[in-house]
């Protein structure tokens, strides 16, 4: 039994079958990549997992509980954090405030009316946020407003905001999309470091084969809304079905 169990998911948009009978199992303490050509349904699947889309049928169980019909903030509170294609951070706030917010969310839940306590007096939260920032080498940027950060730092910060919640599952939506070569390498290094240091379970949706094969421990190939194969990376590389799905891109 995996920590995330997707069973028989179907989703239609009008006449288009975006997801057809998708089964997927993400084991605890692995990095599971979901790959596939454009339009394979990767993003749709991800949106189902985080509660943004409700499938027509099927079930999604996380840690023994169904996530279907729950709102994104409830799913996060269950232990799933998400990293976006373009980093979603609080742009008008400082780096430190950005990291404090998930700490509060983790401690106090989805809503708490703590309107008279001072954020300066929250010693525990501050220490936690500081430790996290030190961990991703951003402590010296703590008082910068995040809109002035470089793209790589924004990605790093978003990652820190997810990690500080100590999630049971980290979802990554094309974390290196549109990045320069050097930034991509940095992100891979960061993810590897997170993986070895914290042993966090990750599900990555990715286009870049370089990223996939340097990180993934298990790979699911999606094509036209259905999983084609699921296996370890070594077996995926030369798989005929995968070559077929990728057609022109078949330098796998």
């Amino acid at each position: 039994m995996g920590i995330l169990e997707v069973k028989g998911i179907n989703k239609r948009f009008g006449g288009l079958q975006a997801l057809g009978d998708v089964n997927l199992s993400v084991e605890e303490n692995t990095v599971h990549a979901i790959i596939g050509p454009n339009g394979a349904g990767k993003s749709t699947l991800l949106n189902v997992l985080v509660g943004k889309l409700i499938p027509d049928s099927g079930s999604v169980m996380f840690d023994g509980q169904s996530v279907l019909g729950r709102k994104p903030h409830e799913i996060n509170q269950m232990g799933i954090s998400r990293v976006f294609q373009t980093p979603e951070i609080f742009t008008d706030l400082t780096v430190f405030e950005n990291v404090m917010i998930p700490c509060f969310a983790k401690r106090d839940g989805a809503f708490r009316m703590h309107a008279v306590e001072s954020i300066f007096a929250e010693k525990g939260i501050r220490a936690q946020a500081e430790e996290m920032l030190a961990d991703v080498n951003m402590l010296e940027k703590r008082d910068m407003v995040t809109s002035s950060l470089s793209r790589g730092d924004k990605r790093r910060l978003e990652m820190a905001m997810c990690l500080v919640q100590d999630p049971k599952l980290l979802l990554l939506d094309e974390p290196t999309a549109g990045m320069a070569r050097a930034d991509t390498e940095n992100t891979i290094a960061l993810l590897k470091e997170i993986r070895t240091k914290r042993g966090i379970t990750m599900a990555i949706i990715e286009h870049d084969m370089n990223v996939v094969f340097s990180l993934a421990e298990r790979i699911t190939v999606l094509a036209q809304g259905t999983p084609l194969v699921e296996d370890i990376p070594e077996n995926i590389k030369g798989h005929p079905k995968v070559r077929e799905a990728y057609l022109g891109e078949a330098q796998v």
């Binding site: 994104p72 996060n76 989805a110 809503f111 009316m113 309107a115 008279v116 001072s118 905001m161 919640q165």
Partner: protein
Amino acid sequence: MLGLEKKDFRLLLIVIGLTLFAPIILNPFPAGSEMAQFNAGYPDLMQRFVIFGIFAIGFNILFGLTGYLSFGHAAFLGVGSYSAVWMFKLLSMNVLPAIVLSVIIAGLFSLVIGYISLRRSGIYFSILTLAFAQMSFALAYSVLTPITGGETGLQLALDDPRILGAAQTASGNIPVPALFGLEMRASYEMTVGAWAFTFNVGYYLAALILVLSFYMAIRIFRSPFGLMLRAIKSNQTRMSYTGLNARPYTLAAFVISGMYAGLAGGLMASMDPLAGAERMQWTASGEVVLMTILGGAGTLIGPVLGAGMIKYFENIFSKINSQVLHEWFGFLPDGLENFVVTIIYPFVGKGWHLTLGIVFMLVVIFLPGGLVQGGQKIAAALRRKKTDDANPGATKPAE
């Protein structure tokens, strides 16, 4: 100090100082002098300064922190006023229960309106709040006349029950609002040389409440709750994917700002015990938006400054009529005098809106952070100048 950081505590002290000495600060010109018309230190206007300051502080908690622009906050102010006047009619002329009731009723009212309006965001939220406020205004003006007094407004009468106080005074008049016997209209006049200062009970009560409101606003700004509100303004997607439910946060901010508006309305009725529907009109809602943006949305002191500036324009600038202008420019030759007066006239007196509009445009274009940003720029420029002045001296020995 008081759970505040040093910088915030200093700001609080400044506000306390300003409100405490307002009757003196606002009366810089000797009574009877030509400039005396620019004196703003009379009780009626000073009360308005602080009451609208409270209104704007509350509005800023919603708009400045969460970015939700309500165009219907005057409705809560109006509801607060009506509640207070009803308290004067039914219970007693003590302002305390009246103010407490106005805050509670405005809070309940904003809970209902906020719950519905916050299902949408952006322009749709603004339109919903505007619609609710205009509905309240229309109702108060017509159907609800038994409760609101309709066109004439809600007034006190000699035959009101006032179960905890006298229905009328010994001389057969309607009693005036008071705080345990201390009448709101009571004033102490102090003459120092040619200057005359008025210290008014009502003003000082309102000023005390302003200081408390301001203190509470600082606490909210610096609390985890305030941080969440700023997070909502910044990025709602990240907010929900961080496990936070934005809805109750925005609703709480909406209700708090509604209660501030009710408090302002209750105070307004305490200074002058009548309430009219026009207090709920959209122009009144728009005014508090202007105050907040003019002073600096999202800053602590900005809304208070904005409120002061607009009320000063409305009451002082509007008094400059053509006769005053002719007096000022009397030294010029006749033809030129008339010419100058003709040029300036549309901008003063009844045309004060025009000047305010221009000021507002200039602020929004050049100082998006409002007057507070202007102040910061000036302070930064001064500091730069100071270091420039200091540096040559410091480097000289090295030469």
